[in-house]
Amino acid sequence: MKKNIILAGVGGQGILSIATVIGEAALAEGLYLKQAEVHGMSQRGGDVQSNLRLSSDPIMSDLIEKGDADLIISLEPMEALRYVSYLAPDGWIVTSSVPFVNIPNYPEIEDVLSHVKAFQNHVLLDVETLAKEAGAPQQAANMVLLGAAIPMLGIDHDKMIAGVQRVFARKGEAVVATNVAAVEVGYKYAKEKMQGGK
């Protein structure tokens, strides 16, 4: 088993919480893990990414090679496109469709979404609306995205849910429940999309 994942977004959106949950589940599975993060200046509203690598064998590089990423998980659609040159030919893009516009020259959102859709392997979802539907607060939108990525992670759904439960356990049962609900709604969305054909 080997998964190279690029987590993308805008500073402050919470990509590292997604990485924390995947990391928790991966370590419980006995997998090796390396995770390169961005700290410092870019965190102030700039583009941020994290390279997360999971493998049943020891991992050497902290960074993913161009063309070797199995999956891009992005909290922002243009940010997903920023890393496509890292994607393996059969790699997946799982991204929020909600643009984060904090720059004057943000491209037309329809163009951005059509570029995402041009990739055969993509899941595009409105994580904020889905979070609302699941009765979860907006901060849990990243967990909806995580849920949508579960089918491509190579870690069982139930083990991911257990990971969510452990990560949020100290915040109390109610927080665990809303985050699990958020993950489930994302998971269901991705499953339906994949079964329904592309």
Binding site: V10, G11, G23, L27, Y32, L33, K34, Q35, A36, E37, V38, H39, G40, M41, S42, Q43, R44, G45, G46, D47, I59, M60, S61, D62, L63, I64, E65, K66, G67, D68, M78, E79, L81, R82, V84, S85, Y86, L87, A88, P89, N102, I103, P104, N105, Y106, P107, D111, V112, H115, F119
Partner: protein
Amino acid sequence: MKHLLLGDEAIAQGAIDAGLSGVYAYPGTPSTEITEYIQMQNAKGKTGAPVFCRWAANEKTAMEAALGMAYMGKRALVCMKHVGMNVCADAFMNAAITGVNGGLVVVAADDPSMHSSQNEQDSRFYGKFAMIPTIEPSNQQEAYDMTQAAFDLSEKMHTPVLLRVTTRMAHSRAVVETKDAPQAQNTMSLPENVQHFILLPAFAKRNYAELVAAQPEFVRLSETSGHNRYVRGTRPERAIVTCGIAYNYLMEVLHHKDANEWREASVLKITQYPLPETMISRMVEDGAKEIMVIEEGQPVVEELMRGMVPSDVKVTGRLTGELPRMGELSPDCVRKALGLKELSTPEADKIVVGRPPALCQGCGHRDMYAALNEVAREYPQPRIFGDIGCYTLGALSPFHAIHACVEMGASVTMAKGAADAGQHPAIAVIGDSTFTHSGMTGLLDCVNSNANVVVLISDNLTTGMTGGQDSAGTGRLEQICYGVGVEKEHVRVVVPLPKNMEEIKQVLREEIDYNGTSVVIARRECIQTLKRHLKQAKK
């Protein structure tokens, strides 16, 4: 025990487990998390005995305090980003001459590609400059293990040891196997020979001669510590030397089938300096005709190697163009250096535009710049000298407010020099933490010649850019300015909020028009620490 740790945290845990008594540091990306981790473990009571872990005013005071603790026989750690090495260079270089009693490890976290920095200087030069051993771990486990080994080495050889990491090592996480409990801290003990610490020329000459005489032993230790490893290839006419994390990128690329041929090359993995001379000679004796040097940072080893191998052995790397001359390494550029084809991949999408960082919505620096820009426009040729911190982002859209930003504290003294040259208005913009780091002494220069400058301290009560660490002068900035000699009526305080815009502008005008040194403090808490404090208060 197994822990998922950042490289920085692995260094911190290694230091704690080596019986650390004190960490001294000023925040700076990518080094900040070392001290933060020790502070967190100390607060939880997980360091065995308590560890001194309060932030220092700057890297020089940090280095000196650490040397004082090492003088007393205890183990001390100093942490900083690469440019912090410049700030503490006087103390650092001379600590190599005094030597140490208790272990002293200096961590320099370099930032090639300048993710959060103004240059990409390579701290290994400082290790060589000071003639002390330097350690450069290649992964998180080594960072943990080698930090402990560095303390042992420091005490054994009575020398400070430099530990160099780069951004990717500092900010990448992996599982690290640690000891179950920290070893006991050293008890206090005085140096055997106090003259070692008195650098009068007569004593310093003797100390320096000892340092020079220790060099062959430092080389021998590099060869025998087990940290450097030479593996003879099955086709040893080709050889590769890797330093620190470059080893990982090489091994990553060698995993692929198309790299079969390169798997037969000899490989020398370097994680301890000075360079292991006999390992390099062996590599040449084994038949190396071409040696590629892969190192993160500047071509330090590549240059040294050229003087160490016969002239018919070709040394390649960053200087010869196989690897990029600047910027951080990646598996991609190593792949290219080995002459291998790029993996097939979608083309970069041209629709993507840059998303530079920006000041947070609601940040006090924004209101400060809004007022300053309006007032500055009233003068024909305003010059605003910026400094290092979040407020450097005032250089970008929408403010375009500053005309210089060089290094910590330079705003104050550059404004002074400009005023000395005849510039008016000459305005410095500096954060509270940067002011106490290196701005205060420059302000004294201003006062002594009553320079016609306005020093605008944008006081957000924290060290913001690095994530909100304590700032050394919080609550005492006015007193510091009075103490330095700024006249009381020219130390003004405003609250940067939109509703106070007219008042702030008026204060700025008055102080610009005053012919002498004045300070305007724009004080409002950082929006990020405010959020954190409100959250904590709720609990």
